[in-house]
């Protein structure tokens, strides 16, 4: 099963290696990992998707909490959060195919962000599942390159994963 964790860390050098090293060291499987600064510039958020069982996710949570610059770890409850990822997909395309791909782009709400004589680049923001659908639709044309950010997640409603004010 897949679990999504929202991890707040101090924004300082070496934190990412501390966190990612822990995963390989303890044999946890990372599906995706995305990092970015939060509303507070001294704090970053790492969104991690792990594949495993309940025991593993509990261990991940506890071991992450032991990393000193980790401020907070929250395992997001299924159905209780919105998640998406950004993908940039470069697909081969000759003049004849261009119109077809543009249709797919419209249908999937994946704007074309770069055009060249033999290729098109689409930008797509949605769930991992929908991204897979788009990729399947584009595969027949020849995928040249795919760049994905990994999953980002935020809780539904007014709930937040933030540092508790002290």
């Amino acid at each position: 099963m897949k679990y999504t964790l929202s991890v707040l860390v101090e924004n300082q050098p070496g934190v990412l290696s501390k966190v990612s090293g822990l995963f390989s060291r303890r044999g946890f499987n990372i599906d995706s990992l995305a990092v970015g600064v939060t509303e507070n510039p001294t704090i970053s958020r790492i969104t991690i998707v792990v594949n495993g069982d309940e025991y593993m996710v509990e261990q991940v949570e506890k071991q992450l909490n032991k990393v000193i610059p980790v401020i907070k770890v929250k395992v997001l409850q299924p159905e209780q959060f919105i998640s998406c990822e950004l993908s940039l997909i470069k697909v081969s395309c000759n003049t004849k195919q261009r119109a077809e791909i543009m249709k797919i782009s419209e249908l999937m709400h994946a704007p074309i962000v770069d055009v060249a004589t033999t290729s098109l680049t689409l930008q797509f923001t949605d769930s991992g599942e929908r991204t897979q659908t788009l990729i399947s639709l584009l595969t027949p044309y020849g995928l040249k390159e795919i760049v994905r950010t990994g999953t980002l997640a935020i809780e539904k409603g007014a709930t937040t994963t933030r540092k508790q004010s002290t």
Binding site: S17, R25, Q59, I68, I71
Partner: protein, 534 residues
């Protein structure tokens, strides 16, 4: 940096110099802090570890960049596995040259990631007071452990505007829980009062928390018998009524039986390591498990826990004390004490054999030692002979339990003696482990450290040989130490009094001389290579 150490009341540091740490050592040399020059960096870490364990204060070790620093790593990992508070200070190449693979550059913060509780690579000298304050705070609170401070050589010589040592460390993500949750404590008390066959399993966490008195009081007031892990040895005196022995692969059979028969196991600062409990899940099916640990990650890691309590074992046991009464059925106590009485330790001395019988000699040695003596045992057969046959009373028992690092005992004993100069410190080694840190005899002589070394010489790597006896058809691959020197002569070359004993009678006689002497002493015991571990 020296001022920071002074502010932390550091009195002694163990280290080895090199170009990248020279500026700091130059200031340290002119300070009141004593620096003990080791003979190899790994031993600096082990000595700091022995010092920390004997004194209850963080040990400090120092090395230069590159090989000096990497040599420390085994010592750091050893301390990490046994949760020993330690501050590791390493020199680093000039900060402007970092990452260019210059002479003696090694990525220490990267290399030590898995073995340190936290690490710092200093980029600005102004950070130093805050970093030192944080490092000491992190190393000594919660579950203790080693913290690395890697300081580029140019930072060591740079000046800061004003030195203000912070009063408090303020780390937003680090607030170790100390008091157990009242609800969980209530549940535990209820479970204890309902239990028919309860047992306390005492681990190294009790020692680290300084909760010895609390644990003994808890056992006495509740009437619950106690077993210990190897790291928990010495918390409850071995001859006390309710103490049953050490559990685990090499433990006392009666202690293992008691754990297996129990219907309630109270794990106190014990992480249920694989050598202590071989099939934890089986145990959790038969018994209710209460697990008290300061590190939440240890709870539920190796065994299913019914009542978890995160907190400082000393404070949790104090909370227990207010509510616990003796409700243990007499039948259970009779059973465990009956098994304890039936346990007969192995090993009988034969004075005509030409060898010292180590297990019985350990028992004689134990009887000769001071009540508060500190015993350091290495890793291998010597360690098991020691743990199964020594009666640790008011003293301490030091060994590398988690990592099982050979060569630990001699430097750890030196560190312990420097922490407690008035206590008797005895070091037990095998001829394999002794040779891994034999160079420390130089440190011992230079600092006039009066420790007593018992060297068990069987010209074998005995514990591995025993595995080969049982599993590998007696093919003794790489376990014969035929190139062994005359250890007595080695000791004499250092000016250390040393004798060879070839019978228990002789060994006991020499041991009396050894304890009467106020100098370091090496007692070499010739051991038959086929003497078993158990």
């Amino acid at each position: 940096m020296v001022e920071c150490l002074k502010n932390e009341h550091v009195e002694i540091a163990f280290g080895y110099p090199g170009a990248a740490i020279c500026p700091f050592l130059d200031y340290l040399y002119r300070s009141s802090i004593r620096h003990v020059l080791v003979r190899s960096e790994q031993n600096a870490a082990h000595e700091a570890s022995g010092y920390a364990r004997a004194s209850g204060r963080p040990g400090v070790c120092i090395a230069t960049s590159g090989p000096g620093a990497t040599n420390l790593i085994t010592g750091i990992a050893t301390a990490y596995m046994d949760s020993i508070p330690m501050i590791v200070i390493t020199g680093q190449v000039n900060s402007e040259l970092l990452g260019r693979d210059v002479f003696q550059e090694a990525d220490m913060t990267g290399a030590c990631e898995p073995f340190t509780k936290h690490s710092y690579l200093i980029k600005d000298a102004a950070e130093l007071p805050r970093v030192f304050k944080e490092a000491f705070h992190i190393a000594t609170t919660g579950r203790p452990g080693p913290v690395l401070i890697d300081v580029p050589v140019d930072i060591q010589t740079s000046e800061i505007e004003e030195f203000i040592y912070p009063q408090k460390a303020n780390i937003i993500g680090y607030k170790p829980r100390t008091y157990g949750h009242p609800m969980q404590i209530k549940k535990a008390i209820a479970a204890i009062s309902e239990a028919v066959r309860p047992i306390i399993c005492c681990g190294g966490g009790v020692v680290l928390a300084g909760a010895r008195d609390e644990l003994v009081a808890f056992a006495q007031n509740s009437g619950i018998p106690v077993v210990s892990t190897m790291m928990g040895i010495g918390v409850v005196p071995m001859d006390s009524d309710l103490y049953l022995g050490m559990i685990g692969m090499h433990g006392h059979p009666n202690a293992n039986h008691a754990m297996g028969d129990a219907d309630l196991i109270i794990l106190c600062g014990a992480r249920v390591g694989d050598r202590a409990v071989s099939s934890p899940e089986q145990m959790a099916q038969k018994a209710k498990i209460i697990h008290i640990d300061i590190d939440p990650a240890e709870i539920g890691k190796n065994i299913t826990v019914h009542i978890p309590i995160v907190g400082d074992i000393r404070l949790v046991l104090q909370d227990f004390a207010e509510h616990v009464t003796n409700t243990v059925p007499a039948e259970w106590i009779e059973t465990v004490l009956h098994h304890k009485a039936n346990y007969k330790p192995n090993g009988v001395a034969d004075n005509s054999s030409g060898f010292v019988e180590p297990r019985s000699f350990m028992r004689s040695l134990s009887a000769m030692m001071d009540e508060n003596a500190i015993l350091a045992a290495d890793v291998g057969q010597n360690q098991i002979w020691a743990v199964r046959n020594f009666n640790v009373k008011e003293g301490r028992f030091l060994t590398s339990g988690g990592l099982g690092t050979m060569g630990y005992a001699l430097p750890a004993a030196i560190g312990a003696k420097l922490a407690k100069p008035n206590r008797q410190v005895v070091c037990i080694c095998g001829d394999g482990s002794f040779q891994m840190s034999m160079c420390e005899l130089g440190t011992l002589c230079q600092n006039e450290v009066n420790i007593k070394i018992i060297l068990m010489q069987n010209d074998r790597l005995g514990m591995v040989k025993e595995i080969q006896d049982k599993i590998y058809g007696c093919r003794y691959a790489m376990t014969t130490l035929s190139g062994n020197p005359d250890f007595v002569k080695i000791a004499e070359a250092y000016g250390i009094r040393s004798v060879l004993a070839t019978s228990n009678l002789e060994a006991e006689q020499y041991a009396r001389e050894m304890f009467a002497s106020d100098q370091a002493f090496i007692l070499v015991c010739r051991i038959h290579p086929d003497t078993p571990t158990i």
